[in-house]
Each structure stands twice: as C-alpha cells, then as structure tokens.
C-alpha cells in the first residue's frame, strides 16, 4: 500500500502541511502553537516514517516561524527520526528557510541543527514563506 499525501491548510496556531509521497517531500509553513501539539504532529511524524521506509529518502522544507515549547518537542521527535534514518544510510535532509529580519527563527533552527548530523541547511531569505 502506498502512503497517502497530506494537505492541511494553516490556521492561526498551526502551520500549513504539504506532504507529497511521490516526491518524498514534506513542507511546513507558518506558526505552531496549538493546545495539543502531539496530536497535531503525530500523523506528520508517521507519514515521514513511512516515506523513509518506502522511498529510503525524504526531504523536509520548513518555513516555520514561532513554535511553542510543545511544538519544539514534536519537532525534536521528527528530527530524531531523521537522525536515525540518516545513521541507517537513508538520504534525509532539512532546509529551513527564514526571513532575514527574524533572527529568533534562525536561532531556533540553529539549536535544532546542533543535535543533527544529516544535511541541515538554514537559509536566509529576503521574504521567507511569501
């Protein structure tokens, strides 16, 4: 059985999600501070797990802005999953795009990157996510 795509529109407190199984690509865009971050991110983490199992690779493009601490925890789970896939020889990578005006977003991304050995690019843009 092939995995399905995920398409979720952004809300005030949750990012837009675009998970394309054929392309092996996951995109998240916006703020994340839902009341229950675990419930929001669980299907995304599951999708990523299956994508790696089926394709042996996944690329993640992030245009995330503010994350509350429970979203940070969920993202850490996602990056841990990518890290163990990387250790097992899978091809995984993260590109985190941010508006160069928003230094706090770059700092957040940097802190995640510290614990990752796979390709993790932090890319300044003049207007990220537009």
């Amino acid at each position: 059985m092939t995995i399905t795509n995920i398409e979720i529109a952004a809300t005030q407190s949750t990012p837009a999600i675009h998970a394309d199984s054929q392309a092996g690509r996951l995109v998240m865009r916006g703020d994340s501070y839902p009341e229950n971050s675990f419930a929001f991110f669980a299907p995304i983490i599951e999708w990523t797990e299956r994508c790696i199992a089926e394709h042996g690779a996944v690329s993640v493009d992030l245009y995330l802005l503010y994350l509350n601490t429970s979203s940070v925890k969920a993202m850490m789970d996602l990056f841990d999953l990518l890290e163990s896939a990387h250790q097992n020889g899978r091809k995984v990578g993260v590109n985190w795009y941010y508006d160069q005006q928003n230094v706090r977003v770059a700092e957040l991304a940097e802190e995640f990157k510290e614990d990752c050995n796979f390709t993790f690019e932090i890319i300044a843009e003049t207007a990220a996510g537009e």
């Binding site: 005030q12 407190s13 501070y33 839902p34 009341e35 503010y66 509350n68 601490t69 429970s70 940070v72 925890k73 850490m76 005006q101 928003n102 230094v103 706090r104 977003v105 802190e111 614990d115």
Partner: protein, 179 residues
C-alpha cells in the same frame, strides 16, 4: 463600578505603561485572538522583530501553562480566571506579568523551580532546556519546559510572588518577566 472607578483604572494603566491587559478565564481561541492583537500592537509600537518574538513567545507559554494547569485541576471559570498584563517598565523594556490561582502544594513546587532558574546564566539555562526537552513528558507536571523557555527570553531573572486567597488551600501566584 462608577465613572470615577473607570477613570482610576485608566490612570493606573497610563501610570504603569500597560499596553494590554486581560482578566478572565483563557480558552485556546482567546489566547490566539489576544496574541494576534498583541502582535499588531507591538509592531505599531515599533518593537524590534526579536522583542516582538520574545514578548509573544512568553505570552503564549504563560497563558497556555495557566490554561493547562486550570484544566488539569478541573477548575470552574471563576477559579480558572487569570490576569495577564503586557507593558513597559520604567526602563522602557517590555514586561509580561501574569497571575493565577494555584493549589498550595503546587505553589511551593513552582516557587522552588523558579528559584532554581533565577540562579542560572544563559548557558546553564540552555543546558537545562535541552535536558528537559529530552525528558519524557510527565502528565500533570507541566510548566517544566515552558518556564525555562521564558527564563531564556528574559533579560533579567524571573520574579515571582505568592499571596493568600480567601480559600486557604489556594494561593495567588504571580510571575513577572522582563524582556
């Protein structure tokens, strides 16, 4: 409340440089709406993008902590009612203050945790944050990661206070964060 009461509230808001104040029970919807108003207000107040992000981040962590605590205790709307204030201090730095009712035994735990954070510098706070992030979530304990995150965004040690309430088993806890 009469007309003079209203004028006194206004004078107090002006005197204490209060930008925004909410007093009542928080729902996730209200947290989002007030947060959105806060962002708009801060941009028009010419806050830097970092100050805006730090004030907003503190506001979200504090209000979500308060809401999840009230929910875990099964508080009714009156007991769950909390106050949050965003303003500027005498040095023109943004400050976030919040107060809510907590059970006496939780109050002591909370004060101990904040006292521990007060003694940490930025490097120690970062280490504590990463350790807490790796710890499995303990339902009901709450506020662990959120408080460290708030302390990291603050430019001065967190300050807090406990006051009695008419209900002897409960205290009024308040927290002040200077950005």
């Amino acid at each position: 409340m009469n007309h003079d009461d209203l004028r006194l509230i206004r004078e107090s808001f002006d005197d204490k440089r209060i930008l925004l104040c909410f007093n009542g029970p928080f729902s996730q919807g209200l947290i989002e709406e007030i947060g959105s108003a806060l962002r708009t207000y801060l941009s028009s107040d010419a806050a830097t993008s970092s100050a805006l992000a730090d004030v907003f981040g503190c506001y979200i962590e504090i209000t979500q902590n308060i809401r999840s605590y009230a929910q875990s205790k099964g508080y009714d709307d009156v007991t769950a009612s909390a106050i949050v204030v965003i303003g500027r201090n005498a040095e023109r730095r943004y400050e976030v203050l919040a107060g809510n009712v907590v059970e006496e035994q939780d109050a002591a735990r909370l004060m101990t945790r904040i006292e521990a954070l007060q003694g940490m510098d930025k490097t120690q706070l970062k280490t504590a944050y990463k350790e807490q992030l790796r710890r499995p979530a303990t339902p009901g304990a709450g506020a662990g990661l959120g408080l460290i995150d708030i302390a990291r965004k603050a430019s001065a040690p967190l300050s807090c206070s406990l006051r009695d309430t008419p209900n002897t088993a409960r205290k009024f806890f308040s927290l002040r964060v200077v950005i």
